[in-house]
Amino acid sequence: MTEERRNISVPNGTRDILFGEAELYDRLGRTLSSVFERAGCRRIMTPAIEFYDVFDSSGDSIPQESMFTLTDRSGRLLVLRADNTTPAARVAATRLRSALDGDSPQKLYYCQSVYRAGSGYTGRRSELFQSGVEMIGAGGVRGDLCCLTAALDALAALGPDFKLEIGHVGFFNSLASELGASPEDVRRIREYVDSKNAVSLRLLSSEAKSRLAYDKIRRLPLLYGGCEVFDEAAELAGGNKGACEALSYVRRLYDELVAAGWQDQILVDLGMVHKIDYYTGVLFTGYIDGAGEAVLRGGRYDNLVANFGMDVPAIGFAVNLSAVADTLSRSGEDEDERHPDCVIHYDDGGFAEAEKLRRQYIAEGKACEYSCFDNAAAACEYARSAGAGELIIIKNGRAEVTEL
């Protein structure tokens, strides 16, 4: 009975990551950390568990049902870190308050996982590795360009073929405000726009007076691409002040980045609305060749830090390391087997001599390990199967080296 009830597999949506793949994660993390450090960011680490209130105060941006919750000993509700931006905002508003008060933007980066409860067997992950940047106190177009260039550098560090797409949350929001729809309906429409679900948008029924507004929303899913998009978007924005402002702002960022030499990487998507909805300005999404999903997401969130008592602008993004690692390991990059340069076996009493040799090898930068077997024959067998370069047997205080 107890035997059968023991569950020794891993929970849905999690996995063990071994060897080459684990090293790949490590390498990717270090690559991005170095990109972020050169962009002037400092590393932070936040707890894997936070009070529920921290995530609750970020609005409904992260649905409650997708958070893992637990309670502490006094019964207070905790959640597994559901997102990295919210804790960074909390850190900024508490620990970094005086620096921010002195008008000094805080550029932070992290490399840690987030936990999202998925539903059923969709194969979606509950534990996602993320590496990202939050620039708190960085406002305006200079703040945006500062963060966008960090995102471009991050993508460039992952591979030669990548795209960064920019949009603006104000474009959808302004057009949606013309619909005269309930917040509930707007949320649904937002989901359709997010999934470029042109069909469901077409099927929406609209009253005659708002038909024009609905027609505009229906064109959003296809409003992506290069600079040719701006003309059509301008037509949609028409007399809507908010949409026009959002559009001309995206145009400005686009022009700046193109003029600065990023013309092959920058795209525009005015139908972009991120799932998490604490964003207030520019939005962006990054893609790399071969990945089946976006690998980078970010945007400006000027109201989030205020929820923690500090009214400062902020912008940031996260790279989905899990998606990047999947892409790179699918293209077979991690199939490297490891072989020790040297395996050492010693007879009883020979350890001191063995250790001297081992330290010498290690100091030379070689991979050198002891055999854990009792006799030389088994050690030899092990060294051969591990593909070692040489086998050293220490007998009566003397080392005997065999090339394999």
């Binding site: 795209k163 999934s195 099927l203 992506y224 998507d269 999404t285 990945a291 999903e293």
Partner: protein
Amino acid sequence: MIRMALTKGRIETGALKILSRAGYDVSELDEDKKGRKLLFRLGGADIEIVLAKAADVITYVERGVCDAGVVGEDTIMECGAELYELLDLNFGKCRFALAGPSDSGDPADIAAAANRFFTGYRHRVIASKYPNVTREYFKSKGMDVEIVKIEGSVELAPLLGLADAIVDIVETGSTLKANGLEVYEDVAPISARLIVNTAAIKMKKAEFDPLIDNIAAAVKADNE
């Protein structure tokens, strides 16, 4: 290269008709030529076709091993995947409907039965092959129901007293009628859809644009 997954069977036939009208050479997939192969290349275009079961089409496109796919809205609704649903291909049309017993086919009787279903206080049991679609539908109605997943011949469930009503795909409604069931309410229209991977459509925009335009034009020509 764009790799496109088609749902085997009726949707495959319909999709090939549209592709051929859109100007692509689909001869490699002719019934008499294709044999048991599952991977094909369209003549004269850099497009590869994969044949798969409906739910797998969604998985392939969501995971990005296929860039695009043609699949019924029923499967999309049930699977709830992360992908872009770009075009209604306007064939394979039917609907999801809520159906249950009715004294007769007379509209007044049906309306009365539906009214009884929606207003009673007893907990309702719904049988369906599509538990997610069913859950979403009743959630939108603010009704708390018990859903029983059935694998085939869902019409049996109300007859056997297992369920008060069913949510199922309805084409003509004749199977329902033959079993004394009538449609209480439509849940959602269904047809074949063109779905695309969220990253591929951005990374391969130059290849995708003409394909989407050609397919959209062919669908439009079909309707006229």
